[in-house]
C-alpha cells in the first residue's frame, strides 16, 4: 500500500507539488488578522476557495472525461448560463403550480436535462457526422449563448429571497456544505468510474488509439457520446450553483469558463491528446488555480497580473509533466 502510494506520487505527483508550493507560498505571504492568526489558513478562507472553485471544479471533472476520450467541449460556459437562466425562469417567470419541492425540482430537472441534451447533440454530431469536437462545440458554444439570450430577452432574471421556491433553491445551492460536498462527491464517483469501471477503461482505450479500440470491437461512438452527455449535464449542474451564488440567471455569465476548466484539467496532468489523465489531478489543478487567485487577492494584487501568473503556471505545469513522463522524447 505504502509503496504503491509513493509510486503513484512519483508518476502523478507534479500537480501535488504545485499544490504544496502554493499552500506554502500562501501561508508565508498571508496577511495576519488582528489576533495574529494566518488569514490564508483560516477555515473560512479555505472553504471560500472551495466554494468559489466548485463550479469550475464540477465542469472540470466532466471535461477530464471528454479530454481523455480525445475530445474537447467548448460549450460548457454557455451551457452553464443556459442552465442558470432556465432554472431562474422556471422559478420566477413560468411559475409551475405545485408544492415548493415540485417547483424547485422541475427547475433543476429542466436545467439538467437541457444541459444533457446539448451534450447529446455535441456527442451525436461528433460521433456520427465526424465533425471535429473543437468545431462542433465551438458552434454550440455560440449557438447556446444566443439561445439563452433570446430566452431571457438578454435580461438578468433575479431570484427572490425568503421562503419561496427560488429563495430556498438559492439558499441550498449556494451553501458551502452543499456545493462543496457535491463537488467532492462527484469527484469521488468520477474517479471510481474512470479507474474501476468498464466504461473508464474503454474511454481511455478509445482516447489513446481510437482505431485499435474499434478493431477490438469496443462501442466507440456510444462511449464518446456518453462523455459529452455527462459534460453537458455537469455544466448544467455547475450552472445551478452559479445561479444560486449570484442570485440570478444571467445570460452573459460563464464566458471563458470552458478555458478555466480546460486549464485545470491540463494542470492536473491529463493529456490533451487523449488516453491519459486522472480525476485526482484535475481536482488538484482546480485547487491550484483557486488558491493562486486567493493568495493574490489577499494581497490585493492586480487581477491582470493574476492572469499573467496563471499563464506561467499552466506552461510550467505541463512542461514539468512532459519532462517526468518523457512524452516529448517519444517522437
Amino acid at each position: 500500500m505504502n509503496t504503491t502510494f509513493w509510486k503513484y506520487l512519483r508518476h502523478h505527483g507534479q500537480p501535488f507539488i504545485g499544490l504544496l508550493l502554493i499552500l506554502i507560498l500562501g501561508t508565508v505571504l498571508s496577511p495576519h488578522a488582528t489576533d495574529g492568526t494566518i488569514v490564508f489558513l483560516s477555515p473560512g478562507n479555505l472553504t471560500d476557495v472551495l466554494l468559489q472553485q466548485s463550479e469550475i471544479g464540477i465542469i472540470a471533472l466532466a471535461m477530464t472525461f471528454v479530454i481523455i476520450g480525445a475530445g474537447i467541449d467548448l460549450s460548457v460556459g454557455s451551457v452553464l448560463a443556459l442552465s442558470a437562466c432556465v432554472s431562474a425562469l422556471f422559478m420566477m417567470v413560468w411559475n409551475p403550480h405545485g408544492p415548493l419541492v415540485v417547483q424547485v425540482g422541475l427547475a433543476i430537472g429542466a436545467a439538467l436535462a437541457g444541459g444533457a441534451l446539448i451534450g447529446a447533440l455535441n456527442g451525436l454530431v461528433i460521433t456520427r457526422i465526424h465533425l471535429q469536437p473543437f468545431v462542433m462545440t465551438l458552434a454550440t458554444m455560440i449557438g447556446v449563448r444566443g439561445f439563452t439570450k433570446w430566452l431571457t430577452g438578454n435580461v438578468n432574471v433575479d431570484l427572490a429571497f425568503g421562503a419561496n421556491p427560488s429563495g430556498r433553491f438559492a439558499e441550498l445551492f449556494s451553501s458551502k456544505p452543499f456545493a462543496i460536498s457535491l463537488w467532492i462527491g462527484l469527484a469521488i464517483i468520477a474517479h471510481l468510474i474512470l479507474t474501476r469501471t468498464v466504461y473508464g477503461r474503454y474511454l481511455r482505450a478509445i482516447g489513446e488509439n481510437e482505431r485499435a479500440a474499434a478493431y477490438t470491437g469496443l462501442p466507440v461512438a456510444g462511449v464518446r457520446l456518453a462523455a459529452y452527455v455527462g459534460c453537458g449535464a455537469l455544466a448544467a449542474l455547475a450552472g445551478l450553483i452559479h445561479a444560486a451564488r449570484s442570485h440570478q440567471g444571467n445570460p452573459n455569465d460563464g464566458v471563458g469558463y470552458e478555458l478555466d476548466a480546460i486549464a485545470a484539467v491540463v494542470i492536473g496532468g491529463t493529456a490533451l491528446a487523449g488516453g491519459r489523465g486522472s480525476i485526482i489531478g484535475t481536482v488538484t489543478g482546480t485547487l491550484v488555480l483557486g488558491l493562486l487567485t486567493n493568495v493574490l487577492r489577499l494581497h490585493m494584487v492586480d487581477s491582470n497580473l493574476e492572469l499573467m501568473i496563471k499563464a506561467v503556471i499552466i506552461i510550467a505545469a505541463v512542461w514539468l509533466q512532459r519532462r517526468s513522463t518523457g512524452v516529448h522524447g517519444d517522437l
Binding site: 482505450a205 478493431y215 477490438t216 469496443l218
Partner: protein, 492 residues
C-alpha cells in the same frame, strides 16, 4: 554507372538487406523483383538517398557517394517514383512538379503563367492533357501516378527508379508508360523497374535482378531466362515441416462467403469448415486484408452473402462482429492492435472486459487471473502485467493480441500476417497456437506473406490477385510456384 557493394540495412532488430551488391548500366531497363519484404524498395530508397544504409557503399560513375538526403541524390540525377506517392493533394499540378526542382522554381517568386508554360511539355510527355493549375486532389489515382512520373522527368534524371509504377494505372496508361520508358531509354536514361508483375518485366526490361529475404539472388538478361525461372528464384525457400492436423472431412460448414464483393474485392467465394485453417496468399494490395475487413464489419459488403453456421451474417461494425464470435488480429499491430500506453494485462482483457465485470464494475482480481492464464498459454514472456505493453518485443506484443481474442472465445479467427517482423522463436509459438485453435474446432483464416508458412500450416490456400480469387489450392499438393503464379495474375 550506378553500383552498390555489400549494402546492409537493419531497422532496429529487423534485417532488411544483408550484403547486397548490384550494378546498373547506362540506358538499360533493369527489373528488381522479389516477394513482399524481399528488400526491393529498401534498396531503391538507399540508392536514392531516402534512407541511409547501415553498411556498404554506393558508387555513381565510378565515385563513391554518400547522400545527405534525397535532394542531393536528385541533384546528381537520381529520380525516384515511390509506391506511396509523395505528392501534395492541395497543390496544383504545376506546383507539385516545381517542388524541389530548382530549374522550375527558378527564383523565390514564381509566376503561375510562366510555370504553366514550363510544365506543359512534361505533362505532354506522360500523356496528361490537363490544366496545370488543377489541384492534384481532383485527379484520379492513375493521373496522380502520371504526375509523379512527370515530376521525375522534370529533373532531367540520369537514373529513374519506378517502384511498382503500374499498380495504380489503367491499361492504356500502362501502355503510355511503356512508350515513355522506351523513349527515355533512347535518351540514355537508365530505369530501375521495381515490380512483381512478370509479364510487364519481360515486355520492357533488359535485365532482371531477383531479391529474396534481403539478399540479391541473381541478375540475368531477360532474353536468357523465363518467367518460371524467375518465380522459382523469388520463392526458393525451403518448405518447413508440415504441422497441420488432418481434419476429418465433414460436410459441416462453419462459415461461407458466397460471391462477396466490397470496394476492393470482386465476387469472392469460399467455405470454412470447423477446425480448418484457410490460408490467404496474395501480394500487398491484392485485397487479402479486405477479406478480414469484410468479415469484421469494417468494409461494407456491396454484393453477396456471408453465413455462419447457416445463418446469414452481415456485420454492421466490429462490435457486432465480435458478438458473432469473430476475432481479427490486424496487420498493423501498433495502429490497429495495441493501446500502447495501457498495461499488458489491460490490453489482454480489453475485448472481453464485460466477462470480468458486474454492473460495469471491473473485478480486478478476476481480470488479472484471466489475463495471466491466457498469456501463459500463449507463452508470452513478460515481467509483470502492470508494465506498459509497448515494453514488449514484437513477438510478445503479437501474443498479447492473440491472447486478447482467445479470451472472447471466438468461433472464427482472422489472422492478418501475424508473423510479420517477429523472430523465429515467436513465429513457432504462433504456428503452434494457431494449430491448437483449429484443433479445438475454430475456423481460422490466415493471411501470410510467407508462402512456406502457409504451405506448412494451412489446409487450403486461397490466392488473390487484384481483388479476385484466382484459385483455392490444396496445401498438401500446392507448390510455392503455383501460388506465386496465381498471385501475379497468371492462371495455372
Amino acid at each position: 554507372m550506378l553500383e552498390c557493394r555489400n549494402l546492409h540495412k537493419h531497422y532496429g532488430g529487423v534485417i532488411a538487406l544483408k550484403g547486397v551488391s548490384w550494378s546498373l548500366r547506362p540506358g538499360e531497363v533493369h527489373a528488381l523483383c522479389g516477394e513482399n519484404g524481399a528488400g526491393k524498395s529498401t534498396l531503391a530508397k538507399i540508392l536514392c538517398g531516402i534512407t541511409a544504409a547501415s553498411d556498404g557503399e554506393v558508387i555513381l560513375d565510378g565515385k563513391p557517394v554518400k547522400w545527405s538526403g534525397p535532394h542531393e541524390a536528385r541533384q546528381a540525377g537520381l529520380g525516384i517514383i515511390l509506391q506511396e506517392l509523395d505528392l501534395f493533394a492541395h497543390l496544383s499540378i504545376a506546383e507539385n512538379l516545381a517542388l524541389g526542382n530548382d530549374r522550375l522554381e527558378g527564383s523565390a517568386w514564381i509566376s503561375p503563367a510562366v510555370l504553366h508554360e514550363k510544365v506543359r511539355p512534361l505533362l505532354q510527355d506522360v500523356g496528361l492533357d490537363l490544366d496545370p493549375s488543377l489541384p492534384l486532389g481532383q485527379l484520379s489515382v492513375s493521373q496522380w501516378q502520371l504526375v509523379a512520373i512527370a515530376r521525375v522527368l522534370g529533373l532531367n534524371a540520369k537514373v529513374v527508379f519506378m517502384d511498382e509504377p503500374t499498380s495504380a494505372l489503367t491499361n492504356d496508361a500502362v501502355e503510355r508508360l511503356f512508350g515513355l520508358i522506351r523513349r527515355l531509354k533512347e535518351r540514355g536514361v537508365a530505369i530501375v523497374y521495381v515490380s512483381h508483375k512478370m509479364d510487364e518485366i519481360f515486355r520492357i526490361c533488359d535485365r532482371v535482378s531477383v531479391m529474396r529475404d534481403g539478399e540479391m539472388i541473381k541478375t540475368t538478361a531477360c532474353a536468357e531466362t523465363t518467367i518460371d525461372e524467375v518465380i522459382q528464384q523469388m520463392v526458393g525457400r525451403a518448405v518447413a515441416a508440415t504441422r497441420r492436423e488432418k481434419i476429418s472431412v465433414t460436410e459441416k460448414k462453419l462459415f461461407e462467403a458466397r460471391e462477396i464483393s466490397t470496394r476492393k474485392l470482386g465476387h469472392v467465394s469460399f467455405k470454412l469448415a470447423p477446425g480448418e485453417i484457410l490460408g490467404v496468399a496474395g501480394l500487398v494490395g491484392s485485397g487479402r486484408s479486405e477479406i478480414g475487413r469484410a468479415l469484421f464489419g469494417l468494409s461494407p459488403i456491396i454484393e453477396g452473402l456471408m453465413t455462419i453456421e447457416g445463418h446469414a451474417y452481415l456485420p454492421r461494425n466490429p462490435h457486432d462482429a465480435v458478438r458473432h464470435g469473430i476475432a481479427l488480429v490486424p496487420e498493423d499491430r501498433q495502429r490497429e492492435g495495441l493501446i500502447s500506453g495501457m498495461s499488458i494485462g489491460q490490453n489482454t482483457t480489453l475485448a472481453s472486459l464485460s466477462t470480468y465485470s458486474r454492473g460495469g464494475w471491473i473485478d480486478r482480481e478476476g481480470e488479472s487471473a484471466a489475463a495471466a492464464k491466457v498469456l501463459a498459454s500463449c507463452r508470452t514472456k513478460f515481467a509483470a502485467q502492470e508494465l506498459p505493453v509497448r515494453s514488449l518485443s514484437g513477438g510478445n506484443q503479437q501474443k498479447v493480441l492473440i491472447g486478447k481474442w482467445l479470451l472472447t472465445q471466438p468461433r472464427i479467427c482472422f489472422f492478418d500476417d501475424p508473423t510479420r517482423g517477429i523472430d523465429i522463436g515467436a513465429k513457432d509459438d504462433i504456428y503452434r497456437l494457431v494449430s491448437d485453435l483449429a484443433g479445438k474446432g475454430l475456423g481460422v483464416i490466415w493471411v501470410s506473406s510467407e508462402l512456406p508458412e502457409l504451405l506448412a500450416n494451412a489446409h487450403r490456400i486461397l490466392v488473390l490477385h487484384e481483388g479476385l480469387c484466382l484459385g483455392i489450392l490444396d496445401a498438401a499438393t500446392a507448390t510455392q510456384e503455383d501460388i506465386m503464379r496465381l498471385a501475379t495474375g497468371h492462371r495455372l
